[in-house]
């Protein structure tokens, strides 16, 4: 099957900066694909390479089997939802949504009808006559989405689309985007720096750092089985364990990771385990996060609320199921 988007050794350099460095990538048609990484990691440049706003310095990109290098953005069957929405302030909502059809020469009644339908799809029916300036952030976001979807793109690119929304709205939009994607069957490529967002929405996640992809996999893969220290640390702040420590428990001299929720914290007298000292506790509502110091090694543990907690500074013993200790590919 042809990939929706395929990168072969794609690089994009800005002077001496390697924004994207020899990236290989295959996005399956109809999947919800997230590009996750800190700012400056190259994820947005990758998105712009797909949209056509950037051209690769080397390597090749194909979109549904067609070579994309040198094809301008307006000849690609790909649409983008911009981070700042980029709505046209001089047009009303309906004309904003109908813009793509207008420049393609679709007649006014027809394109307005399609735009109305797209607005219903994003649950903004009847908002057509308003100006973008009269809408709230969440509504503008939906208009931007409708404006992209009305063109029936093969791939929809979303550049941190939820970044400007408040928490409650963001959670609603996450669910809505997900169900919209399932209903339409369009390939979504989603850029975010929020690991929670990537894990909860995407079918697959690519973790970026320094212009390279560190790991591609399902959210579970990425979360449970990080391949490198960076992934373990960036996605869900796993405990990264040094090779010497890992060797004691697995017999292999490799970097390991251990999820904070896999660590059990017991009283010092309660038996065998890693002896440590409780540095601080951080109450998070449903859980409590503990910062621990095990002979110079900083560890975090998450325990459910209501657990009897040692006091700060007290000596404790840490135990964990050895199956939960994950060995990473990264060489020691």
């Amino acid at each position: 099957m042809t990939s929706a988007v395929s990168f072969q050794k794609v690089s994009r350099h800005f002077g001496s900066v390697r924004a994207v460095d020899a990236v290989d990538l295959d996005i399956v048609p109809g999947e919800f694909f997230a590009m996750l990484g800190p700012s400056g990691s190259g994820k947005t440049t990758c998105l712009r390479l797909i949209a056509g706003f950037e051209q690769p310095t080397s390597g090749s990109i194909s979109i549904f089997g067609e070579r994309a290098e040198g094809v301008p953005p307006y000849r690609r069957n790909v649409n983008t939802v911009f981070q700042d929405y980029a709505l046209f302030p001089h047009l009303n909502v309906l004309d904003n949504v109908a813009y793509g059809l207008m420049v393609k020469g679709v007649g006014k009644p027809e394109r307005h009808k399609a735009a109305e339908e797209a607005l219903s799809l994003v649950r903004l029916p009847g908002y057509g006559a308003r100006r973008p300036g009269q809408l709230s952030g969440g509504q503008r976001q939906r208009v931007a989405l409708a404006r992209a979807l009305v063109n029936q793109p093969k791939v929809l690119l979303l550049d941190e689309p939820l970044g400007a929304l408040d928490l409650k709205l963001r959670e609603n939009m996450q669910e809505e985007l997900k169900s919209l994607q399932k209903a339409l069957g369009i390939t979504f490529v989603f850029v975010t720096h929020d690991q929670g967002e990537a894990l909860s929405m995407a079918d697959r996640v690519a973790v970026f750092n320094d212009g390279k992809i560190m790991q591609i996999g399902t959210p579970e893969d990425i979360y449970q089985r990080p391949k490198t220290r960076f992934v373990a640390d960036f996605v869900g702040s796993s405990n990264v364990l040094p090779p010497d420590f890992v060797q004691l428990y697995s017999g292999q001299h490799r970097w390991g990771s251990l999820r904070p929720e896999s660590i059990r914290v017991g009283r010092a007298a309660s038996g065998e385990g890693v002896s440590a000292r409780l540095v601080s506790t951080n109450y998070l509502g449903a859980t409590t996060k503990l910062a621990l110091d095990a002979d110079g090694l900083r560890l975090h543990a998450i325990v459910p609320a209501g657990t009897a907690l040692p006091v700060e500074g007290e000596a404790v013993v840490l135990t964990f199921n050895r199956e939960h200790l994950h060995l990473m590919d990264e060489p020691a």
């Binding site: 949209a51 307006y74 709505l87 404006r147």
Partner: protein, 271 residues
């Protein structure tokens, strides 16, 4: 520190402000009044009598019409040149980064910062060096140097407030470069261009110094007025023309002010 709101200013301040305004605008009124005087050889106060005959006299003087038509044509063409070059230049400077961008920006603005006499002398010697005879077009070129600046300044200010991703969004939605310019860029900078264009027209219309150096035998309206002041004959004709000039330049500037009052200032209006 600020004065308390709601408390009225002291009487002395009000009087001072009124005097200031009167000093600025009373001479203008005098010019209007003298357009109706019956005394044609010198300006005497109070006017011995009032008449509207000078309007008819002005209407029938071919030299007035020639000067007026030359001024309008020069202003219109200089403004057109300024609109095209100013828009292109502001787009280049604000939409892309390139080596020497700041320098180009400065060089474009320079003609309005330079005294007109410098621009005038420079152009005059350049024209004679290049063996270009003084003509209608040398005036137009001279005026275009400062007309470009006001268009450029207005357009750059507007481009700065226009989100760059809007142009990318338009391309993304299938519009090519021309369609993007026509449907997105132009509507967003239109009022800035209108304001800049009208200001450019007004600047060109009453320009004297640069024109003196770049004109041959032709007389633009302001130059015609200067010459007319020396002559003892039909003096109020000048005043009638002055009234027209005030109206022709004031109306566009007022319109430009209202079109851009929320946001951009009319840059370069101090020339």
């Amino acid at each position: 520190m600020r004065s308390d709101r709601g408390q009225s200013a002291p009487l002395s301040l009000k009087v001072a402000a009124a005097c200031g305004l009167l000093f600025l605008h009373l001479p203008l009124l005098l010019i209007f009044v003298y357009a109706f005087t019956t005394e044609e050889k010198s300006f005497v106060w109070p006017p011995p009598g009032l008449t509207t005959q000078w309007f008819a006299v002005t209407w029938n003087r071919p030299d007035v019409w020639q000067a007026l038509s030359l001024s309008v044509r020069v202003a219109a063409i200089s403004t057109a040149i300024a609109l095209i070059l100013g828009t292109l230049c502001s787009a280049a400077v604000s939409r892309t980064k390139f080596f020497g961008r700041e320098t180009i920006s400065l060089l474009v603005i320079l003609p309005i910062a330079l005294p007109g006499i410098i621009t005038g002398i420079a152009l005059r010697s350049a024209f004679s060096l290049a063996d270009i005879p003084f003509s209608f077009w040398t005036i137009v070129l001279g005026h275009a140097t400062f007309c470009v600046v006001v268009v450029y300044n207005n357009a750059v200010a507007r481009f700065r407030r226009t989100s760059g991703s809007m142009i990318e969004a338009s391309m993304d939605l299938g519009a090519d470069g021309f369609q993007t310019f026509r449907h997105v860029v132009l509507p967003n900078i239109a009022t800035a261009l209108l304001a800049g264009g009208m200001l450019a027209f007004a600047l060109s219309f009453d320009e004297v110094i640069v024109t003196t150096f770049t004109a041959g035998q032709q007389q633009t309206l302001p130059i015609w007025m200067l010459e007319e002041l020396i002559r003892p004959r039909q003096r109020p004709v000048t005043n009638v023309v002055a009234m027209v000039v005030v109206l022709v330049t004031l109306l566009p500037i007022l319109a430009a002010y209202y079109l851009t009052r929320d946001g951009d200032q009319i840059a370069g209006s101090g020339k």
